[in-house]
Symmetry: C2
Subunit: 440 residues, 2 copies
Amino acid sequence: MSTVDQPVPAPVIARSTDPLGVEVPSTVPTHWYNLNADLPEPVPPHLHPGTHQPLTPPDLAPLFPMALIEQEVSTERYVEIPQTVREIYAMWRPSPLVRAHRLERVLGTRARIYYKYEGVSPVGSHKPNTAVAQAYYNAVEGITKLTTETGAGQWGASLSMACSLLGLTCEVWQVRASYDAKPYRRFQMETYGSVCHPSPSDLTEAGRAILAEMPDTTGSLGMAISEAVEAAVKDPEAHYSLGSVLNHVMLHQTVIGQEVLVQLAEAGERQADVVFGCAGGGSNLAGLTFPLIGQNLREGTTTRSVACEPAACPSLTQGEYRYDHGDVAGLTPLLKMHTLGKDFVPPSIHAGGLRYHGMSPMVSHAVNLGLMEAVAVEQDDAFAGGVLFARAEGIIPAPESTHAVATAIDYARTAQEGEVILIGLSGNGVLDLPAYSAYV
Amino acid sequence: MSTVDQPVPAPVIARSTDPLGVEVPSTVPTHWYNLNADLPEPVPPHLHPGTHQPLTPPDLAPLFPMALIEQEVSTERYVEIPQTVREIYAMWRPSPLVRAHRLERVLGTRARIYYKYEGVSPVGSHKPNTAVAQAYYNAVEGITKLTTETGAGQWGASLSMACSLLGLTCEVWQVRASYDAKPYRRFQMETYGSVCHPSPSDLTEAGRAILAEMPDTTGSLGMAISEAVEAAVKDPEAHYSLGSVLNHVMLHQTVIGQEVLVQLAEAGERQADVVFGCAGGGSNLAGLTFPLIGQNLREGTTTRSVACEPAACPSLTQGEYRYDHGDVAGLTPLLKMHTLGKDFVPPSIHAGGLRYHGMSPMVSHAVNLGLMEAVAVEQDDAFAGGVLFARAEGIIPAPESTHAVATAIDYARTAQEGEVILIGLSGNGVLDLPAYSAYV
């Protein structure tokens, strides 16, 4: 052995969806939890954009593999996680549930504060929980390429990583504002072997139509979705993948809350009294809270779940609850959700992952049923909470997560003796440090 | 509870060095391991820069607390880790030891490959292992401020985090090349409340002298050390902190290798047959390998340890083994080490953390005694290994770590059936994505 004397080739390498055959620790969840099994009223169905009738599986087949279409309408309480997915989850799952002792000391609170930290995944957020599942089901069905949109880039990077691990190629349309302001996420996608375009682009009809009307637009998730959907529909070997909003995405994220239930019990806690999670499209929030809401419904626990959204994009606290499209071009199904209107272009806030006009139909339904509360947080308040948390606990939260952190800190200052507060830390802010710098 | 209706104040908050009084899992090491107890010959002593006589504790008192000075010359095999330090370690320790099944599959190797992943710390590298210990001992001795130098910024960010957690302020001189090229690390330091200057600066005599001679220099760790040392000596409330090279730093990092010994046994392995770690100042390498070398010396295991250094800064493979200063100005003690000469200015490679003219005296001594091997790796080969690893295992390694990754991959291709290969993954490359982008 001497030095490395030849370049190591580094192509995207086709990998098997076969399990590695290794034992996965029992602490990695074996099933996803489906809140639809326990809801007092079913979630309103998605409607066909043309006929306005409930969607049928064939309507979705050009976009999604059948396994995900089935999960989208499933009412089974538990859905088994494939072994290959569990093997990949085991790289970072279970994610830590941490008692925030130092934050408690700094605040002088009478509450016990915990945080569930999803930033330990290889891309630093909760998004791989569904990215890996989606890439897996597509690979099993013989699909060779996935298209998607991304805002700040957590989702695009997560799907890129998942596609790399499962031997798919990946093409990403990233909202122009983030593409220009946050190149690190694009570099991350490219390192995993993906191709990333700014959106709107001239590569799709949808993109060209938007550019003709608004040549200087900084883009939006709704626009980028239109482009990615169009690209998938036109390529018989490709499917589309969505990082939030849809029911099957909420399902995959429930590994977060299921681990919380086990970890809280191990910590000797009967329940979390109040849980704070940030809300953009809803997947982090749903993943964190749905298993706890399900426990409330089945077993009579009394955990309060609080959605923390940005004041600049307040779909739950200011939007209407009605059917709307998920994208700007109106290519997606109509979803019953809290929405600011598909043409709403949110201001260019630092928490790019919360910059979406709508909200998951399941989260919207849960809020509508009174199973969940919602608050809006100003950006400066969110960062103040994020900095306080970083200096007390060492972890710099993602700008998205700071909305939950700040709300929890505010609550903890006047909490009752012995209350148990849980913060959903959806990711770390390592690639959002310029935003912190601007605030500090 | 409604929205957060007032900004949360976010000053640096003085914190206690008292333990939180919480139970730390037994999997977090209780002691550091000191290779000096098991070496066949003692490490040559550091010499006073003026008298060239072995240093005495009073010589070092202006820079370091007495506890660290004692550790610098200790020959005790095990040094107890203070409870407060263990509580902070428990945030991310034990770090994972992971079987690289997917990498094995991609390479078609006959070996079993493991990696020890230090990127799970809040700043993404192994550096907090010593930063927390150093900040703790200084805080206990009543010091209120630490000064230090940093290259790529991992060390400066780590010490900033540690100071924040333990209520110290922190002033950092960062090598100009990295200060300009990698602003994210500075943002990270500032978020933790530190002040960061580019080095050479006009704030110190050493800096002004260097600038007068080389006004366009991009700096070096040796220059930045001169500035940070000078600033500490001139301020009676401040001490200096070094992120590598010295014996007490090697000591603190041994939590890595001690965990490896336990984790390999849990995985059913008798020993690692060969271990690859990147080497800049030597702390990651020492932390990873010293406990394994100690086991060789005491128990007859036969683990090979390989230092992987950059071809652009090859102190172990090309440097002389002699007494030299740790800094450019000659303010530091004379250290017996492999050195390229204190005036050597390494080229501006991406692996900024490996860009140092010297090498830890303990690592140099171990190489000199034949207890450790060394290889030099070209930058492109290192990145090729890093990209291959990222696409197989999901984690994008730090540029520093890719030197170990690439060497291990090369070795694994022709390894014997059943050989056990261990890679030290000293950190992740999230803040080095532009370097990957340039390579890809």
